[in-house]
Symmetry: C2
Subunit: 256 residues, 2 copies
């Protein structure tokens, strides 16, 4: 009998979010699953790690699936570090993060707790995938995503991923499950234009809520925002060597 792969599952919406519950059910079909996920929502946490505070991590049972589960008081990146260093007795064959309630296309990859968990796993040398759905609703319909997630996960287990690369997978929101297919993309060049919502608290002090408008000026048809707008599942290979290699030669000509 072939040995089942060991799969680490995490997210940033918290361990009870419908997105991660769906992801766990898919992974149970593929391998032995261990879940270490935040005990509360951690959206927008980027690649934060907990340096100035303590971290709790407790075994927990949430449903009747075969997975082992732990809820952790840390960030998504903390969860992956905790899993590898303290919980698992061997390196997982795959780490999957999500399914995020909301897309992580374009520049959102930078702010995303979902992707930071996948990237953290990548840093630790584990093939990793972040999954997100372009639907912020807690009641989003994840059913139609299952077969695609399974296929992508199996391909990653089969082929592996090169050192230093993880996958960022985003699904469009479709009423039917008629995705046009999977498109390998680059990250769209887009950004948020902030619109702070300024209010006054009951004590008369001003405070703000961060809100914003997503502005995409990238007209390419090879980027992830285009793919999602055109009903494709986008897959972006993401790396964490942030060096802008092409600018090194030019910088050497500066008078520094």
């Amino acid at each position: 009998m072939e040995k089942k792969p060991l799969i680490l599952v995490t997210n940033d919406d918290g361990i009870t979010a419908p997105g991660i519950r769906t992801l766990i059910s898919v992974m149970n079909e593929i391998g032995d699953v261990v879940v270490i996920a935040p005990d509360s929502p951690q959206s927008g946490m980027g690649h934060a790690i907990t340096l100035d505070s303590t971290i709790y991590c407790d075994a927990i049972t949430i449903d009747d699936g075969e997975q082992l589960e732990y809820r952790c008081s840390g960030t998504p990146a903390d969860c992956v570090k905790m899993a590898i260093s303290e919980i698992l007795n061997k390196k997982p064959d795959l780490c999957v993060s999500g399914i995020n309630h909301g897309a992580n296309s374009s520049i959102n990859v930078i702010y995303s707790g979902t992707m930071s968990a996948a990237i953290e796993a990548g840093i630790e040398g584990i093939p990793a995938i972040g999954f997100s759905l372009l639907d912020y609703s807690w009641k989003a319909n994840f059913e139609g995503l299952k077969k695609h997630i399974k296929k992508i996960a199996l391909e990653v287990i089969k082929n592996g991923l090169p050192d230093g690369i993880v996958l960022n997978v985003n699904f469009p929101k479709l009423s039917s499950n008629n995705f046009k297919g999977i498109k390998i993309c680059r990250q769209a060049r887009a950004n948020w234009v902030e619109e702070f919502d300024k209010r006054t608290n009951p004590q008369g002090k001003e405070y703000y809520w961060l809100t914003g408008r997503f502005v995409n000026l990238d007209k390419g048809e090879d980027n992830d925002v285009w793919a999602l707008e055109n009903d494709y599942i986008s897959v972006v290979p993401v790396h964490f060597d942030l060096t802008a290699h092409h600018f090194i030669q030019k910088l050497n000509s500066w008078e520094l």
Copy 2:
């Protein structure tokens, strides 16, 4: 008379940290300075932004310098968003972040609040530089860094930076100020091996502190860790298009 550049200063160690006070004093020699920095330490915050909580931002006077200052309850990335959207009435000519108490070389760029502020400014189209010193002490000696920081900042103002690129500048800890010079580098391929410190709280419940060992297997002499170990100031051009472009073609051959 030539118009002075508008310079935004921030950090992740908090607005009263000796590192940012030094940076402010240098920038006052170059331009009109506005400081918007966290009201408390934010190390390890990565590119976190505040979505589920309110943000406060108050004018404050800390020393007798000419700068305007605001302390902000948000993350370093929040500070930059707040500055551009709410505080400044025009786009700054330069954003500098730091001087961080501790290096942000190699993979630390991912976890760094200092660099996330610089990257956020870069996303907003502002030339930006993160400065860090390989000395975690609150009493670190920043004096010898001043002339180098001024030179690098002036070069960035003069030359600009290409769209999508910011600079990550790290200084070695030297007892004298005899830096060997400035070296343009790539990000070293190194990572942290976690060593969680497990303890028991007074109520008998187990908890953890995140600690770790920095492991560098990168033998190149063109990376930032090598530069710092050899008494050079490292300058890495950093970009925030995380697409691993070289892997797109290969991914297209997968059975997805």
